[in-house]
């Protein structure tokens, strides 16, 4: 599905505080499987996730998606790929305050200009599936952490992406909610979606919902 070859990523390159967050990563992410990146804080998990999800470009190395090299594509095409192929669930959920849950879920589809009624139905169906139908008109800042995460998941699914990317999905959840998340994870992979997540939560890493664990340290992969 996604192939990384000799990926490096430097922050503040050429300056005194230059920092290599990724230092030669080769990784193949298989389709329809749940892959978890794990490792100590600062090891480069989030950075690797941004490269995998086309949110950031690597400093060097090649990224290919379904066999097609996308490292050289201009920003516009990357956005297009990101919109069609990836759905993101951020650690802080990153919902837009002041808007309702439903509006937040529909947001990624706006630039595509779909028919409004159909879009609304799709968003409502996603919220219902995540047991949030009764909260769809509520402003997101009034929702609990677990509810906010489910809104974020619904938002990630609205454009029906092949790959779902989640950064530290259980960091803000208690055990019960984390288990609920793992159940959703299984559903997603059962639907045939590829899931990529980072976590240092043993509950996630050791879960049967996760098919593969990739460990990192100091910007490199380490054998598990």
């Amino acid at each position: 599905m996604i192939e990384l070859r000799a990926i490096t990523k430097a922050f503040n390159q050429g300056q005194h505080n230059e920092f290599w967050a990724l230092d030669g990563i080769d990784l193949t992410v298989e389709a329809r499987r749940v892959t978890a990146l794990t490792g100590p804080s600062g090891s480069g998990k989030t950075t690797l996730l941004t490269v995998l999800g086309c949110l950031a470009r690597p400093t060097s190395g090649r990224v290919s998606l379904k066999g097609e090299d996308i490292s050289g594509l201009p920003e516009r095409f990357l956005t297009e790929i990101r919109r069609r192929s990836f759905g993101f669930v951020f650690q802080q959920f990153n919902l837009i305050r002041g808007l309702s849950a439903l509006e937040n879920v529909m947001l990624p589809a706006y630039p595509l200009g779909p028919e409004f009624g159909a879009l609304r139905l799709r968003a409502e169906a996603l919220l219902a599936r995540l047991h949030l139908a009764h909260r769809r008109e509520a402003r997101v800042e009034w929702l609990s952490g677990g509810e906010q995460q489910r809104v974020a998941i619904a938002r990630a699914l609205i454009n029906d992406p092949e790959v779902v990317i989640a950064d530290e999905p259980t960091a803000n959840l208690d055990t019960a909610l984390s288990r609920q998340f793992l159940a959703i994870l299984e559903e997603l992979s059962a639907e045939g979606r590829t899931v990529l997540l980072t976590s240092h939560d043993p509950l996630v890493v050791e879960s049967t919902a996760v098919h593969r664990v990739v460990s990192m340290r100091d910007g490199r992969l380490v054998a598990a």
Partner: protein, 378 residues
Amino acid sequence: MTRWIARQRYLIDYALASAARRRTRNIGLLLVYALLVFVLASVMLFSLALRHEATAVLRHSPEVILQRMVAGRHDLIPPGYAERIGRIRGVQKQAGRLWGYYYDPVMKANFTFMVPPDGGIERRSIAVGPALARERGLDENTGISFRAYSGKLFAFTVGAVLPQDSELVSADLVLMHEDDFRAFFEYPAGHWTDIALSVANPQEVRNVAAKLAAALPDSRPILREEVLRTYASIFDWREGIVLTVLSGALLAFAILAWEKASGLSADEKREIGILKAIGWETSDVLKMKAWEGTLLSLSAFLAGYVAAWLHVFHFDAGLFAPVLKGWAVLYPRFDLTPAVDGLTLATLFFFTVFPYTAAVLVPVWRAAITDPDAVMRA
């Protein structure tokens, strides 16, 4: 195409929701903005309307007016004076005119008494301008009397109220019969106030004036084009003062808009980052913000412009009439005839809506081109 419209509708929707979320800030901005447009538009509409009036005044006046000067002052035209001009090529018509000023102690205002060149007014009857009719409650067939400078009281019946196409032309006008005029002002028979000459060809006006000056050395020809030029420069000068003051206001607004708009709050930056991360293109974010800016500035513009219109044409431009209107003494109350001109409207629009939208977009653009990975680390 329908896809394009659908996308814009989504962007507008989002822009409106986003504006509503920062309600206090946007309402404050809207008010300041509308106020600025209001003041600028008031000045423009007002001076434009005045200019219209002045042009209307002069449109009806003859190309050349000949006054006789005695000891450097305007004096009456004696009998036989006009005949001395003889025939001058290019002059189509020449006629003596009778007019004078009358100060009405009741209204504490000046009126122009005049004998219309083509007659048409009965004896003991007058036609009055709309301002006078309004102030003294006159209507057709009501009576009014004026005390002449000689002390004698003259009674008239109002035969007609002049139409209000242009108030400056007719507001203070009182038209009367020649005999009444001469009796009222004790004007000696055969004398005239001045002589009006019509010249068809504008190229010949200066020649005619030169010939008049040669034939009658004690006369002063007044050319309409010169009067026009004087009016224009007076208006420009007054408008200049007001605009100087206003450019200060404009500058203040620009600074405000810049500060308000450029200081993207952390919240807004985060929002832009989120939008990009979930698949909005930089151009989508910019379009959405452009809509937001346009909708805000457009509504401010409309509100300000409509308020200015009401101010100028329904409330007599009360706020700055003292600066712009030199006529305040002559015209106790005078409604301007509404006039709009596309160019000034476009100018105003361009200088308010455009800079604001640009000021909003620059910082958004700067925030929007940064890599979206920053949202991962919020």
